[in-house]
Symmetry: C2
Subunit: 662 residues, 2 copies
């Protein structure tokens, strides 16, 4: 197949070389130091990868706890807490550490996330000084283990409908926490089955007979290793993966905690039983509380990207060693990565992994700025929440897809537990669900877009509109004129009028960005129109929403992919001229064009791609794969995964043989 | 969203009702009796689903062996063997039994497959009376356990390049079996680590210093529980799943077996050391031997379909119980399956599962006919092999996709081992790889199409053409004229000339079939043209093939999907008028249109879909989802999965509560 990429040919394309060390520096960015600390710790505790296979569930849980405490002692896990309690005062570094930890055993990762991210994060962000003083020092060292008891059997995604109740007893100045009905049991709670002494419990607050919505309380659930009085705990037992984390169920039967147990940063109850909050609107209060937990989503998204890297590094190295079938009689068998299909299977995934890495850099930076107070206003928080939700969803879906593709690309050896895919696959499977089901998160993203689109930034819920699914809010007052205006704006996006897509070079990142922007804006206008039509016709809002739901998800997807491409393009542009810049440019093109290719039907349906252009994009993707092929080893080595973490002796050799070494 | 399906509206559409019992009869077909026997056995041994979680690996392996032997005693597993040895003389029934067994624990399934399908099948089909008399009676009862030692560490897909050697020692009248180099060790061999006494070993036969290619030998590998002299066995250890099957590695160090150990149906060595075979061409001889093992692929394909059914039954029942988010304030929360997105996620998968079920019926029937000798000629065998390969690939990819989607659709509960997804996912993961890597199988399918297309049915390999990947053969003499003729034929496919696709109803199955036929023929002509061009230009065949490889896979995919749709359409047409016929008609439309929708970019690129038509198809798919929604419970119940096999108490309740009952 001759290349049709005349523009590249004309530009005198020279195959770049990857400077692995320099590329690692680009990827590690400002957090190189903490990432290297984590790499060192991962190597120190590399035996946990074997232990995950070899130990029974009880022993492995204890081992993981031990390891988390030992890692905590190195300062790795406490970066996000205030220095005065023993933390590192650097939330960005805490996320970077967590991301890097995802190169290793994922039970360790998730235990760290539960203890320091969820439990510690709730104490830090929902509590006030009394809670900080009481709990932060011990939880940062891991001496005090806790859990985050939000999800219930009956309600996962719909947190506002939780069934656990915390009634204020003014006479005793205590809250009485009760599980109402079995569906209100807390479930899937990490650290609950074995290690947690405290739980941050989310419950409906009742004061003076009035329900004030969901609030968080610190409740002791275990004393001296036994369940506290009134608390019943059950083990969730074996899971598909992450068996080093002790997930469990909790029931509360009139458990009394003092008034001070309420995490009272955003609302409090006076001794006399008066409910007070600086945030008047109950929905906004609720979402403000939930919003402080955004770091969990940012963390999981980054972990998804890095888990994908491990799978891709193994599969790529294998494809550079493994030969199968000769091209002609009496010749050596051919390397897997020299097969066009194998390139198509792995290389666009490497490109997308790089893209998501840089997108994760952006969301981590936003998180750092908001939580460090350098840029913390309502708008910045909303932007962060939306971006965190979308990046988490894309990154974790990507991880699931990558791990599966890479396992298959490694054949039967990929199925043996001694090689890492078994653990990677079963451990990472739940990433698409926890910290927010991905589909629900995408609806959150869409809600943000629609809200913004309606031109009403705040309090849409009061205006009598469809109020649906995680508070997905669409203003009845979305005007046709406003939709019309948007379409005008979309038209303006086209450089050079109607023929723009025929003239721009496929490898022009402005062209690629414009395509993704157009898709997003056009889809958004379409969803808004459909919702408005349903509302105008006074149809059942559930039916209206149900019928437009796939478009809602699609627009969120389009939005996040556009952000991801922007992050990648920005990063490449900012690099000094070098082989690495050229290499990342190829990857960026490969990501952009394979993304457009995957949705080329939509672009054709909406007049943004001709048939010829669409076919040209597929040829260009193939051509880019062939150009990236010689760079593959360097591109996966630059991720800086310790060779010990590529535990796949049958696939990449053993680290001591040097085969898996960078 | 108003329906745009005017043709349906005009035809006075009446929502059908599903008669579950009658539909089960349609699905079970002529093998209802054996399927019911397996269902009974599955319920009898239902505790194995718990035991898979609870027992250690050693105990679970023993338990699975025990169970396989007990099931064998019911006659369930021996249906494919001759009656005179204790079998059932009915190969179709043996496949149906295997398919049904896939509702249960998959370690049991795979152990049965290894013992009776691979080991027993090799003895039966590659051996002659002496082997049958010696081994069949005991292997049918499970008293004699054996393994199928084909795959080596260095060669899985490329069986012709195996490194194990069996040299004939004429003086001793023995074969000497030797593992040459560690990459030639047999690996991933089921039954090898623990239970097998005999192995059918595939090795390069050397007679009088001449290599005669790969042949199969019966080699004792274990005596009294210990490895036989000269045999070294290692345990593959824990795997991602299927831990009830004892996979292992085997090395042979000059192991001597008598001359009669050669499975000599297709070739023999005389006492004096003369090699004899009724099949002259060595490649054809090799593929003839391999071809007798086609039942393994037919079995795994059917198992993939039924594993997918289990996942879909659980997820569908859950979506009919689980409520989350209210559509409007103060209303009940909405069932998951009333969400448009949830319908989109599950219902096309149900449709495709039905489609693959009926496609599996066809390939099972072909297998039965070929192996029962009612229709056994070279052409029938080739057709069967191609169809078995393609159906296996599509069915097992489908299973992987379905299990993943269903797990995600069941949220966190889907991640607990007590609910079946953990086992289903990890156990079925390898289906895409074993019995032939799916991508390699698709190349086999494409090879068959190209061979046929070239108009040269036999012995293409002798004519000096590109000979590549699993013997993918493309004739250099593919003439442009022949490609041209094909395109003419493609044009003739279009009823009503250039406007055909604008006039035919989307719900006309002739339209749907024509679309899939056109795609296949057009792709095939394109691949042939590209290969011919490369050959004409005398380019490196490896490079030519590599660059066209994604098209090769695509044409195979298009071919098999067309066969699947034909099978579905044929089955629906043959049914008497009934609610079930209408319901299956909806599913068939949903399968056809969601298949076209998934590849609508290709159809637009090739002038077979206009933009308007493409959008109409997406609307129609949504509309069909809404029509199938009320039938969902009946459609999954009709699969007749014993409720005990839907082991997911958190998702569908416990069988004793009646919740999971049909």
């Amino acid at each position: 197949m001759a290349t049709d990429n005349t523009s590249t040919a004309a530009s005198g394309y020279v195959q770049p070389e990857v400077d692995v060390r320099a590329l690692t520096e680009v990827l590690d960015g400002e957090y190189a130091e903490i990432r290297d600390l984590v790499r060192t710790n991962l190597v120190t505790y590399a035996s946990v990868l074997e232990e995950a296979d070899e130990l029974g569930i009880d022993a492995f849980r204890e081992r993981v706890r031990e390891l988390v405490v030992e890692m905590a002692a190195t300062g790795q896990t406490g970066m996000g807490f205030p220095g005065k309690y023993g933390g590192g005062d650097d939330i960005g570094a805490s996320i970077a550490a967590f991301e890097t930890l995802a190169f290793g055993d994922l039970s360790v990762l998730v235990k760290v996330g539960v203890q320091f991210g969820l439990f510690g994060g709730a104490i830090l962000h929902l509590g006030t000084e009394r809670h900080h003083d009481a709990h932060l020092p011990d939880l940062i060292t891991g001496k005090l283990m806790g859990c985050f008891a939000m999800t219930e059997a009956g309600h996962g995604s719909n947190v506002q409908a939780l069934g656990t109740v915390a009634r204020y007893d003014a006479a005793a100045q205590e809250f009485v926490v009760t599980t109402h009905g079995d569906q209100a049991r807390k479930d899937y709670i990490g650290n609950a089955a074995r290690h947690a002494e405290l739980a941050v419990v989310f419950a409906q607050l009742e004061v003076g007979g009035k329900s004030e919505g969901v609030h968080a309380f610190v409740v002791p659930i275990r004393v001296g290793g036994e369940a506290a009085p009134g608390v019943r705990i059950e083990d969730d037992g074996r899971k598909m993966g992450l068996n080093g984390v002790d997930n469990g169920r909790i029931w509360f039967d009139g458990v009394r905690v003092p008034r001070e147990a309420l995490l009272n940063r955003f609302a409090d109850v006076t001794a006399e039983g008066v409910y007070e909050s600086p945030i008047e609107n109950p929905d906004r209060r609720f979402f403000t509380m939930l919003g402080t937990l955004v770091q969990g989503r940012v963390s999981v998204g980054g972990a998804g990207v890095n888990a994908a890297k491990v799978a891709l590094a193994i599969a790529t190295k294998y494809a550079l060693r493994r030969r199968q079938f000769e091209a002609a009689p009496d010749t050596e068998e051919q390397l897997l990565l020299d097969y066009g299909l194998h390139q198509r299977r792995l290389l666009p995934l490497i490109a997308r992994t790089y893209a998501l890495h840089f997108a994760q850099d952006v969301v981590r930076t936003q998180l750092h700025e908001v939580f460090s107070g350098t840029e913390d206003d309502a708008q910045a928080r909303r932007r962060l929440e939306s971006r965190a939700a979308g990046t988490k969803a894309l990154a974790t879906w990507h991880a699931t897809r990558v791990v599966q593709e890479c396992r298959e690309a490694c054949g039967g050896a990929g199925y043996l537990s001694v090689n890492r895919f078994a653990a990677l696959k079963s451990d990472s499977d739940i990433f698409t669900t926890f910290e927010g089901d991905n589909h629900v998160l995408m609806q959150l993203v869409a809600k943000g877009l629609l809200t913004h689109y309606a031109g009403e930034f705040e309090d849409l819920d009061q205006l009598g509109m469809v109020r649906y699914v995680t508070g997905l809010a669409v203003e009845t007052v979305i005007e046709r004129t406003s939709a019309h205006k948007l379409l005008e704006r979309v038209r303006d996006l086209r450089p050079g009028g109607g023929e723009w897509d025929q003239e721009a070079g496929l490898l022009d990142s402005e062209y690629q960005l414009t395509m993704l922007r157009y898709r997003e804006e056009h889809m958004l206008a379409g969803v808004a129109r459909r919702l408005k039509r349903g509302i105008d016709q006074k149809r059942n809002p559930g039916v209206v929403f149900s019928q437009v739901q796939d478009h809602v998800i699609a627009v969120a997807h389009a939005h996040v992919e556009r952000l991801v491409l922007e992050a990648f393009v920005d990063r490449v542009r900012a690099l000094p001229e070098s082989g690495n810049k050229v290499a990342l440019g190829l990857l960026c093109d490969l990501f952009a064009l394979s993304t457009i290719e995957a949705d080329r039907a939509w672009f054709m349906e909406h007049g943004r791609l001709t048939v010829q252009r669409s076919k040209a994009i597929s040829r260009e993707v193939n051509d880019l794969c062939r150009k990236v092929r010689p760079l593959a080893a360097g591109l996966v080595d630059a991720w800086g995964i310790p060779p010990e973490m590529l535990r796949a002796p049958d696939l990449v050799g053993r680290p001591e043989d040097g085969a898996a070494r960078r």
